[in-house]
Symmetry: C2
Subunit: 132 residues, 2 copies
């Protein structure tokens, strides 16, 4: 009754008490896990990701961001509000205009790393079919 999808199942109880103790010790507070997941979830939307990618080029106003990321100004404004709330982007106001930028170096590095990961795993779709 064993299929290849059962390969991960273990025969017995907990096997490695040292690993388990260290892993439990490393687990962040639930509120931090929720905050991290919220940031990743924000970056998990292709529209928001396009927006952040063009912001790697420097600060810009909503209408330029809309053109560059191929979205409506309304969609961009909504995305920017969410991203600001999680400190992924920051705003600078100049008179009646607002310019948005990536909030910190961590965000820039997250985007660069994700790009590197994707470039490093170019056969993701083929692998998906093969590994299952």
């Amino acid at each position: 009754m064993t299929s290849s999808s059962d390969v991960g199942a273990c025969a017995g109880p907990v096997h490695d008490r040292d690993w388990l103790a260290a892993a439990l010790d490393r687990l962040p507070a639930e509120s931090d896990v929720q905050d991290m997941a919220a940031v990743f979830a924000l970056l998990g939307d292709p529209g928001r990701l396009r927006l952040l990618t063009v912001l790697l080029e420097g600060e810009a106003c909503v209408c330029d961001l809309a053109v560059a990321s191929g979205q409506s100004e309304s969609a961009v404004s909504h995305a920017l509000r969410l991203l600001r709330a999680h400190r992924v982007v920051a705003v600078r106001r100049a008179g009646r205009r607002a310019f948005y930028r990536l909030d910190d170096a961590h965000v820039r590095m997250l985007l660069d790393l994700a790009g590197t990961h994707v470039a490093h795993a170019p056969a993701v779709r083929a692998a998906t079919a093969q590994d299952r």
Copy 2:
């Protein structure tokens, strides 16, 4: 009729042609955007994130991962299949057992960076209320 939520709106057409040209040039291929978003979306789930966080401690089998991340073995197996398909985790088989690990250094850095970002923005919830 202008509310504070309209602060991002621009008065005119595209303002910065140089930025726009550079931004459009930087925009990745749509397939890469989709792949990056898919990886971030995977990391945007608190359960999967807990799983990846304990994997920072080193490779482990499904039952240890279930205990450490506070999830059922079935939920862990399902999460691991998704994560493997996107090359976020890798598997090593030893007889009938399978050990999972973070696939590459990029994933480790993504997790570290997200943790740093969260630590760097501890007042996210307060800011959310304030900025809107």
